[in-house]
Every structure is written in structure tokens, then in C-alpha cells.
């Protein structure tokens, strides 16, 4: 099995070369994306086959001479390999169609397969060196893809922030693995599993893993690069970064904290839980204020990562207190949400890409009415929006419902911190879910409904068949995940067994394919039946009204209380739609301000309204660090323009200092 994955990764690297050589002709594009599609399908199959199978491992004679490269495919790797295969296959299919609109294919085609290869290598790596190498390959390739449209406004800044944060993430993980390996230098994961860190270093390992993996996943407060970098890349790459790369980061967190770090301490759970809850709410609030469609989706990724981390935190807290059943439920819910997010976020980014190609606009205030010009895309986007808003009967609801069930287990936890944090985080999750629905009503309603707000939106055209097929595939998965959640939950059982030593009860054997997290008298949910009931009742309603009541239909001008607006500019925009929410939530959290500037009486100047929002994390954490770096650099600038005598003096002083310290040491 591991050989299939390794050859798939080799294939991807070969495709990267193909992309570099044949970037400029159509055949090269089709070869790269078509090849990636095939390889990703193979990765998907291998990942699913690895779930529940015995781990297969191999040592390759590459990498550091005294270690070699260890690779291993177990249930956890398989789960995430399947996500990579799934997201990669969809994005590649979309690339076959939409890739032809790419202006600079030579900046995309070589890096795209390399990015996929890097992600696949991360999840099968079984020693610290291979892991970090793959991690950095993934970071570098995605950075190159972010910089593909390097002349577009804001891309350079996005790329800069991303590379800084990616370096930070790599550094944190490097130190983390250094601590795990210990002074003996046992860099293979087997050695780390055999010797978990001592009680003191454990906390440091946890903190570094949280920072390193969290920075890649988009956890607050190390999320700032994500809403800049994800939207800057070409849309199918955005889909991969949001839908898949963040999952690889989650994998890194799980591998280190749940497996290599040994048994958790209870406050690990508390920290992750609280950070997850804050991330969820902050992410969705930012998404609500955003009028750039792709940035909105990126912020919503931050929100969903928060929900997943919240589940991880619960699992850690339960596991630390020896409550394996609860840990299994929380972990399964989190993993399920990660898989779901891969499906619907990929769908939404691909849809946003279709809109971008059709209109050239990402600003929602210049879109509108696309449901008429792009009916198929609009329908699929609607499916994605319902799924991500956690509404039944689609998949997003099931995973959030499971998370709620995990919160409601009311485990007898002895720690007061957890007793208070769990219900508070439950409230944050509920708030995030409700705000997400508001956010996606706004996103879909402004971009796809109403009347077109610009010429470009009025002249948009529908996507090609390939891209449509990619989106339709993800939409189907959103529905299937919602009506048949038992399939996914049962597939995740070996992963949760491996990580927390228990798994949820088998779901597919419950009558009517009902989902029962703990026991039937406690809670159950059946998406299939609900979907059937809704379909049946709407059918009854439609048939009855059309059979027994009037079925006549006339078209006329809009009523609008008797004063129809002549201009589409009178519609609500994305900014005006979120104004009530900005006033309710934004004034406190995002320091949203609105000032109205009235001209003096008699003046014919227009009145103006100014609004401002700011990210508290950026202002209080990053801006001071940036200022400190600039200040230090300014001081050190003095060293740049010295005479040769002084430089020689410094060299001499350094030498003396070193010799002196050596002498003192001995």
C-alpha cells in the first residue's frame, strides 16, 4: 500500500517537471491537471484502504545518512491522505477547465503538483526530518502559487506575510521535534513514541506544536496570513489551501499532541478548547464584515478550523480524565467536521473562482443577479452555503451536532477550569453557527441574487463542463455526508481508536441508518429521513396547491411597496447588509466605527459616511512586533556603513570574547 502512495508522490513530482517544461501549451496543462487527477484518485483510494488496515512502513535510503527516510501509512495518515486525494482530485478536475484562463501558466503548473506531493509526503512521513522537509516543500510550493499573480494588488504583501508565518511555523515545529527527539537524537517517530517527553518538556512540546501546526491551520492568534494568502492564489489553489492544506496542519497537530507527546495533561484541553472557541467566533465575525468573496471564504476557514480545534480540545480534556467514550465522540466529530470542511470549502472556493472568471470581480458589491446568468453554478454554491452554515439535511450540520453532543455529555470532570469552559465554549460554538448562517445568507444573497450591480455581473457566462463536474462532485459529497453520516463515522472509527483508545459505536447497523452518538434514548439524528420528509412534504405542498388551487402565474414589475427602484444601486449591498451585525458585534470585538460627515447647511457637497474596522489581534500583537523589528533594524543599520578599521576591530573583539569564554568554561 505504501508503495502505491510513494509512486503516486513520484508521479506528482514528475508532473511538476512536465509542468515546468510544457507550461505554455494546452497539452501540457491537460497533462498536468489530468495526471494530478489520476494520482489524487489513487491517493484517495489508498487513504481509504489504509483506514483500519495494519500500518505499512518502509525505510528509504534517502534523506539524512544516519536516519534514512521513514515512511508509514496508518489509519490517521490514511484519513488525511484521503482528504488530500479528494480535494486534489476536485481541484485538478476544475483546473482542466478553468486553467485555460490562466495568464501565467508557467507560474502555476510546476508548483501545483509539487504542492500536492508535499502535502502527501507530510502525512506519510515517519521521522522528524522527512516530516519537516515535506512540510517546508508544502509551504514553499504554496507560497509560489500564492505569488503566481504577483503583480495583482496586495499579492506581494500577502506573500510576504505568508512566508514569514510559514517560517515561524516551521521553526516552531523544528524546536518541537528537537525536544521530542531528546539529547539522544531519536528522530524517527518510533523512537519518540517509545520515549515520550518528561513532565517538564511536555508542556513546551505541546505549546510549540500548537503554535507550529496552528499557524498553518489558521488558529487565532496565528491566523493573520490566511485571509491574505488563500484568496491571492488562483481559485483552485485557494480551494486546495483552504480545503486541504489546513487539514494537513491538523494532521500535524494530531500526530504530535495525541500520539508522540504521550498522555495529555488536562490543561492542554482547556487551552485548545478556548482557542478553538475564540477562533470560531472571531473568524466568522471577520467573514461577516468582508466584502471580497474569496477573503470571506478564507475567514470562514478560520472559523471552521476553530470548530475543529474545539473538538480536539474536548477530546484532550476527556482523554486526560480517562473518559474514553467522550474523547472518541469529540474526536470523531472534529475529524468529521474537517472532512466536511474539505468538501464544502473546496466547492465554495471553486464557485468563487467561477464567478471571478466570469466577471473579473471578487468584490460582492459589484456582483448580483448571477443566479440568472450562471444558474448551475448558483445552485451548487447554494448547496455549499447551506452545508457550511450547518443546516440540515446537509453534512455541516451533522458534524456540529456531534460536537454539541460531545459538549452535552456532561462528563464528571474534576477541574473547575474545564467545568466553566465547556459550556462557555458551547455558547461560542452556537454563536459561531448562527453567525455563519448570517454570513452565507449575505454571501449568496448579495453575489447571486438581486439585480446585477455592474456590467461585468450582467454579462457573466456559465462555467465549462469540467469545472461544473468538479463542483457537482463536491456538492454531492455534501449531500451524501449529510444523509449518510454513518459511513463517514464508521470509517473514522480506527483513527479514533488509534488516538484515544476508543471509538464511537458502529452507526451503519442502527435501523434506518440513524446516527446515535451514545445511546438512542440520549440523542439520535437521521438526516436521510429528514431529507425524505422535507422532499415529501414539499412535494405534497406543490402538488396540492397546483392541483386544488390556482396554478396561474403572471410576471409583472416588482411591487416594492409601490415605489420600484429604477437603479440596482438602491439594493442592499454586502456592506449595508452587515451593518446591523456590525453594530451589535463589531463595535466591541472589531472596534467598528461609523462616522457621518454632514456638509454645512447651504453647501451642495455630498454627505459622507466613513466606516472602519480593525483586527484587534493585528493591532495588539503583530503591529508592536513589527515596530520592534523595524526599530532594532534601524539601530543595527549603523553597522552597515563602517570603515574597514572598525569592522576589523569588531572581528578582533569577537575573537577575544570567544577565546575568553572558552578559557573560562574550561
Amino acid at each position: 500500500m505504501i508503495l502505491v502512495v510513494l509512486s503516486a508522490i513520484l508521479g506528482l513530482l514528475g508532473l511538476a517537471l512536465t509542468g515546468a517544461v510544457f507550461a505554455h501549451n494546452a497539452a501540457g496543462r491537460i497533462a498536468v491537471y489530468g495526471g494530478s487527477l489520476l494520482v489524487c484518485t489513487a491517493l484517495l483510494a489508498a487513504g481509504i484502504a489504509a483506514l483500519g488496515a495494519e500500518p505499512s512502513r518502509l525505510v528509504l535510503p534517502v534523506g539524512l545518512p544516519w536516519i534514512g527516510a521513514h515512511v508509514r501509512l496508518d489509519s490517521l495518515s490514511g484519513c488525511f491522505l484521503a482528504v488530500i486525494g479528494l480535494g486534489g482530485a476536485g481541484a485538478s478536475l476544475y483546473g482542466i477547465g478553468q486553467g485555460r484562463h490562466e495568464h501565467d501558466p508557467q507560474r502555476v503548473l510546476p508548483f501545483y503538483p509539487a504542492f500536492l506531493a508535499g502535502m502527501a509526503m507530510v502525512v506519510i512521513a515517519d521521522d522528524a526530518f522527512s516530516f519537516l522537509f515535506a512540510w517546508e516543500l508544502m509551504s514553499f510550493a504554496s507560497w509560489a502559487l500564492v505569488m503566481a499573480h504577483h503583480r495583482a494588488k496586495g499579492t506581494a504583501w500577502a506573500g510576504f506575510v505568508y512566508i514569514v508565518m510559514a517560517t515561524f511555523s516551521g521553526l516552531a515545529l523544528l524546536l518541537c521535534f528537537g525536544l521530542l527527539a531528546g539529547p539522544a537524537g531519536g528522530y524517527s517517530f518510533d523512537a519518540m513514541r517509545a520515549a515520550p517527553p518528561a513532565a517538564g518538556t511536555e508542556a513546551l512540546v505541546f505549546a510549540l506544536a500548537l503554535l507550529g501546526a496552528g499557524a498553518k491551520a489558521g488558529l487565532v492568534p496565528v491566523h493573520v496570513w490566511l485571509p491574505l494568502a488563500h484568496p491571492a492564489a488562483p481559485s483552485h489553489v485557494s480551494a486546495l489551501m483552504s480545503g486541504v492544506m489546513t487539514k494537513v496542519a491538523l494532521y500535524g497537530f494530531l500526530r504530535i499532541v495525541f500520539e508522540l507527546c504521550g498522555p495529555p495533561v488536562w490543561w492542554f484541553g482547556l487551552v485548545v478548547l478556548v482557542l478553538g472557541g475564540i477562533t470560531a467566533v472571531l473568524g466568522v465575525l471577520h467573514a461577516l464584515m468582508e466584502k471580497d468573496l474569496k477573503r470571506l471564504l478564507a475567514y470562514s476557514t478560520v472559523e471552521n478550523i476553530g470548530i475543529v480545534f474545539l473538538g480536539f480540545g474536548l477530546a484532550l480534556a476527556f482523554r486526560a480524565n480517562g473518559f474514553a467514550v467522550g474523547a472518541a465522540l469529540a474526536l470523531t466529530a472534529a475529524l468529521f467536521h474537517a472532512v466536511n470542511h474539505a468538501a464544502f470549502k473546496s466547492l465554495l472556493f471553486l464557485g468563487a473562482g467561477a464567478v471571478l472568471t466570469a466577471t473579473g470581480e471578487r468584490d460582492m458589491d459589484r456582483l448580483g443577479g448571477l443566479i440568472h446568468r450562471m444558474p448551475r453554478t448558483a445552485f451548487l454554491m447554494l448547496v455549499g452555503c447551506i452545508a457550511i452554515s450547518a443546516l440540515p439535511p446537509l453534512n455541516g450540520f451533522v458534524s456540529e451536532w456531534l460536537t454539541f453532543q460531545a459538549i452535552l455529555l456532561r462528563a464528571e470532570l474534576p477541574q473547575w477550569g474545564l467545568k466553566l469552559a465547556i459550556p462557555a465554549v458551547g455558547a461560542l460554538l452556537a454563536l459561531a453557527a448562527a453567525l455563519a448562517a448570517a454570513c452565507f445568507v449575505r454571501a449568496f444573497g448579495i453575489a447571486f441574487l438581486g439585480r446585477p450591480r455592474s456590467r461585468q455581473a450582467a454579462d457573466a457566462s456559465e462555467v465549462d463542463g469540467w469545472s461544473f463536474a468538479a463542483m457537482a462532485g463536491f456538492a454531492t459529497l455534501c449531500l451524501l455526508g449529510g444523509v449518510l453520516p454513518g459511513v463517514v463515522i464508521d470509517a473514522l472509527a480506527p483513527v479514533s481508536q488509534a488516538l484515544v483508545g476508543a471509538h464511537m459505536p458502529a452507526q451503519l447497523s442502527v435501523p434506518w441508518l440513524t446516527t446515535v452518538p451514545v445511546e438512542a434514548s440520549r440523542s439520535s439524528y437521521n438526516g436521510l429521513l429528514l431529507f425524505g420528509f422535507i422532499a415529501l412534504s414539499s412535494l405534497i405542498a406543490v402538488t396540492a396547491t397546483h392541483r386544488f388551487a390556482s396554478r396561474a402565474l403572471r410576471r409583472g414589475p416588482a411591487w416594492d411597496c409601490g415605489f420600484p427602484d429604477a437603479s440596482p444601486a438602491t439594493q442592499y449591498t454586502a456592506t449595508s447588509f452587515s451593518q446591523p451585525l456590525r453594530r451589535v458585534f463589531g463595535t466591541l470585538v472589531l472596534r467598528a466605527r461609523e462616522t457621518v460627515e454632514m456638509p454645512p447647511p447651504g453647501s451642495v457637497a455630498p454627505a459622507r459616511i466613513h466606516r472602519s474596522i480593525s483586527d484587534p489581534i493585528w493591532d495588539f500583537l503583530y503591529a508592536p512586533v513589527g515596530r520592534a523589528v523595524a526599530f532594532t533594524a534601524g539601530l543595527l543599520n549603523y553597522l552597515q556603513f563602517l570603515t574597514i578599521r572598525r569592522y576589523l576591530g569588531f572581528v578582533f573583539a569577537a575573537l577575544v570574547l570567544l577565546l575568553a569564554s572558552l578559557a573560562i568554561w574550561q
Binding site: 443577479g369 440568472h372 444558474p375 447551506i386 452554515s389 443546516l391 440540515p392 454539541f404 452535552l408 456532561r410 467545568k419 466553566l420 459550556p423 458551547g426 455558547a427 452556537a430 448562527a434 448562517a437 452565507f440 445568507v441 449575505r442 444573497g445 448579495i446 441574487l449 438581486g450 439585480r451 442502527v510 438512542a520 440520549r522 440523542s523 439520535s524 439524528y525 437521521n526 429521513l529 429528514l530 420528509f533 415529501l536 412534504s537 414539499s538 405542498a541 406543490v542 396547491t545 388551487a549 390556482s550 396554478r551 396561474a552 402565474l553 403572471r554 410576471r555 409583472g556 414589475p557 416588482a558 411591487w559 420600484p564 439594493q571 442592499y572 447588509f577 452587515s578 446591523p580 451585525l581
Partner: protein, 321 residues
């Protein structure tokens, strides 16, 4: 429990679905009548909502020129989703045939789905009133929904289940005793119900002043059978919330398990009495209070959210003590 199947159960489930559908316009008619009497008006007859529905259903529908398929499909979807949600709430009997297919959280989310579609339909025509209604509706929902979930948490933590049938059965035995958290949850649920059903003081169901509208602004462009579906869904929603309050906080008289037809009839009678008294109380409440400004609503709903959270915290903290 799951998968048990008996023809009698099917009849009871079907009976409940028909009952809620048939009774809901009457409940709204009652509220309107009582409100009118309290204002010293004679008011429309009790059966007026049925007549309204019949009148709307027999008219030709007029659609705005740029209405999309979503606008046409939305009324049926809203109606269907609300009806399914209403059918999942125990009214006169617990343990209905399909009651295990959705719990209290799922019912909340189903209503969320209906609202999602409703808000989108409001934005479809591209008028400023539609956007205004949708924008305010999601603002209200973004506080009401978490408050509702907190109420669900409170009850679920006391009973150890989110299934409404189990909750009603457990609470009707009175084993849980009198709890502070339950009282907090009841107050929160009343506030949420008032907001969710677009009643005074959050919204005015009888408003004719466009700028104060929330729900009415969203359905402004609808006519004929489409409007009938939406109105009926709104009637159902009011009935759903009252049934919810009934089965969680006043569960006496609900039939638990198989019983004789006479007992079922008695339970239905008691249920109708509960509905009627809730309707009268709602009318009195609405008459005695003034409508709020839109930006006062968050404070009102925030209170519900905080009450719910307080109830949950009390339960978490008191465990093991």
C-alpha cells in the same frame, strides 16, 4: 425504540401532522381576536386565517420580472421544513413513530434552514425592502439561535437527552424537581419565541409601516399561493414554539406510550387547551408592551442568551456537588 414500527404509531404520527397543520391557523386567529378585543375592537372572526388562506390559494400568482427559480421554490421549501419541524415536537403524545429522527437541536436547525431560505428569497428580487428585512432577520436570528441552543443545553443537561420525547417523558414525572436553571430556560424560551415569531416587541405582525418591518419586509413581493404557503408556515411556527414550551415546561397530560383512544382524545383536548391559554397570554403580552427600536432588540435577545448560558453554567458547576 428506533425502527419499531406499528400501524397505530403511523396513524398517531399522521394524526399529529394533520392536527398541527389544521390547528395552526386557528391559533393565529385566536391571538388576533383576543388582541382585537383587548383593544376594544371587534376584530376579524376566529376562522379568518382559513379564509385568508383560501382566498390566497385561489388567486393568480404575480411574480416580479426578475424573480428566479429560488423565489418560486422557496415558499414550498419553507412550508415543508417548518411542517417537518412541527411534526417532530411532541404535542399530545411522546414517542411518535419518527420522533427519533431529529432532536431539539435538529429542530432548531431545521427552523434555521427555513429562515435561511426565507432570507435568500427576500433578496432575490433586488429591492431595498427585501434586503432590509433579510439583514434584520439574520441579526435577530444570530442572537435568537444561540439562545435557543442554550435552552436546549439546559434541558438536555437536566434530563440527559436532547430527544424531545425523552425530555417530555422525564419532566412530566417531576423527578427532576424544581430547578432554577429550568426557570431561567423558560424565560429565555419565551423571549426567543416572541422574537422568532416576529411578535411585538421585536417585530409587528400587523405592521403597515415599511421601515419597521422585519418579517413582513421579507415577504413583501409574494402573492397568492406563494404567500399562502409562507403565511401557513408562519402559523405553524407559532404553534411549534407553543408546543415546545408545552412539552418541555408543562408536559402534564401528554400520553407516554401506548394508550386507549379515549386517553388520546383527552390528551388532544388538553393540548388544545394549552394552545388556547398560550394564545391568550401572548395576546395580552403583546397588547401590554410597545414595540422596540431595532437596535434595542439585541439587548432583549442578549438577555435570553445570557439567561440560557447562566442556566447551563449553573448545571455544569453544580454537578457532583
Amino acid at each position: 425504540m428506533i425502527g419499531d414500527f406499528a400501524p397505530a404509531d403511523l396513524a398517531i404520527q399522521g394524526g399529529q401532522m394533520t392536527l398541527v397543520l389544521g390547528l395552526s391557523p386557528l391559533l393565529t386567529g385566536l391571538v388576533r381576536k383576543v388582541k382585537a378585543r383587548l383593544q376594544r375592537r371587534r376584530g376579524p372572526p376566529l376562522l379568518q386565517p382559513y379564509r385568508d388562506l383560501r382566498r390566497l390559494l385561489s388567486k393568480d400568482a404575480v411574480l416580479a420580472e426578475n424573480a428566479s427559480w429560488l423565489f418560486r421554490a422557496a415558499p414550498y421549501l419553507i412550508f415543508a421544513v417548518t411542517w417537518v419541524a412541527a411534526a417532530l415536537v411532541p404535542t399530545f403524545a411522546t414517542g411518535l413513530l419518527f420522533s427519533w429522527s431529529g432532536d431539539l437541536i435538529a429542530i432548531t436547525a431545521l427552523l434555521g434552514s427555513a429562515r435561511f431560505i426565507q432570507a435568500l428569497a427576500a433578496m432575490d428580487i433586488g429591492t431595498s425592502f427585501g434586503g432590509l428585512g433579510a439583514s434584520r432577520e439574520v441579526m435577530i436570528a444570530s442572537l435568537a439561535e444561540p439562545a435557543m441552543l442554550m435552552i436546549a443545553f439546559t434541558v438536555a443537561l437536566i434530563v440527559g437527552s436532547t430527544q424531545l420525547s425523552t425530555i417530555a417523558a422525564m419532566l412530566s414525572t417531576g423527578d427532576s424537581g424544581l430547578r432554577v436553571s429550568l426557570a431561567l430556560a423558560l424565560v429565555a424560551l419565551v423571549i426567543v419565541s416572541v422574537a422568532e415569531n416576529a411578535r411585538i416587541p421585536v417585530d409587528n405582525p400587523a405592521t403597515h409601516l415599511e421601515l419597521t418591518m422585519v418579517h413582513e419586509a421579507m415577504v413583501l413581493e409574494y402573492s397568492a399561493r406563494h404567500l399562502a404557503m409562507i403565511e401557513w408556515a408562519a402559523y405553524l411556527k407559532l404553534l411549534l414554539y407553543i408546543s415546545l414550551i408545552g412539552c418541555m415546561f408543562f408536559p402534564f397530560g401528554i400520553v407516554d406510550g401506548p394508550a386507549s383512544p379515549e386517553r388520546y382524545l383527552g390528551a388532544v383536548g388538553l393540548y388544545i387547551a394549552k394552545l388556547a391559554s398560550a394564545g391568550v397570554l401572548l395576546a395580552v403580552f403583546e397588547t401590554s408592551i410597545a414595540k422596540m427600536r431595532v437596535f434595542r432588540v439585541p439587548n432583549f435577545l442578549g438577555a435570553a442568551l445570557m439567561l440560557g448560558l447562566l442556566g447551563v453554567l449553573l448545571l455544569f458547576v453544580s454537578q457532583g456537588m
